[in-house]
Symmetry: C2
DNA sequence: TATATATCCTACCAAATTAGTAGGGATTAA
DNA sequence: TTAATCCCTACTAATTTGGTAGGATATATA
């Protein structure tokens, strides 16, 4: 399951995607509209900024903006930044790979199954973007 | 990611699947062959038994056996027993559903995306079985 | 019936992770 | 210069994870 932090990240990005192209959005604004604890949200936005998804402006009239267009931010990217690996096992993770001890990766049946599952999940999460997300709001 | 407990569960089931049809397998035997801490393994096996996947026999010559044939135990079932939900959000979970507050499930774009992702993942995890897993060991 | 062999049950524990909060520092617009 | 705004470091409580301890219970067999 995604952590609450990751869910908050998506909620914040969703809001910023809706405001894309307009003025910077203040943290307090996002916090109120999306019901995210303000100080917790600060942490989240800094992480998304450091990862290159957002840019910020300080001082009056400042706030956060998307640095990348909504259609170019896929869901897998967001999950990896805030939540971590998408794969079910470290030994089948593309971005957080860890060798598993006591198991031969060439022959491990569990690994093969989890590879197939990972591919199926990623096929969706890497294709769907923030734009898809907000366009699907009815 | 799957917890270590879930990975141990798969390792134990894999071993029991290989011994399917033969004599009961002792916990200590599984523990040694699959390198799982013995007392921790006890807990895991009891859970799998309570869920109906295993049966046990006490006393001399006793041990654990699969109650269900390997081809009838799919990976999603095992994950749900030991790890919990497979979906990325509680509000798209089939077996561990929870309503999300502050969000209309009919219109929520994030929910729609996570539903699609869940379906893709489940399509694999519900199709692949313990039999597939051990047949893929080379 | 006694004994050895197994599983089963209840309880406990340390370390890591999650979900925040507190308080002030740095930067910028006006 | 000052008010507004993001940024940084540190702390904390609650929960989850990954176990361990010790004995109770059931069973095969002599």
């Amino acid at each position: 399951m995604l952590s609450k932090k990751t869910q908050y990240a998506f909620k914040a990005l969703e809001y910023l995607a809706q405001q894309h192209g307009k003025d910077p959005v203040k943290i307090s604004n996002i916090s109120i509209h999306q019901k995210i604890p303000l100080k917790f949200l600060e942490n989240i936005l800094v992480e998304l900024k450091n990862a290159g998804l957002l840019e910020s402006k300080k001082g009056k009239g400042g706030g956060y903006m998307l640095k990348v267009a909504p259609k170019n931010i896929n869901l897998a990217t967001v999950i990896r930044i805030i939540n971590g690996p998408i794969a079910l096992l470290p030994c089948v993770s593309l971005n957080f790979y860890e060798k598993c001890k006591d198991c031969n990766e060439e022959t491990c049946g569990m690994r093969k199954m989890m590879l197939i599952a990972r591919d199926a999940t990623l096929r969706i999460l890497e294709k769907k973007t923030l734009e898809d997300m907000i366009k699907n709001e009815v």
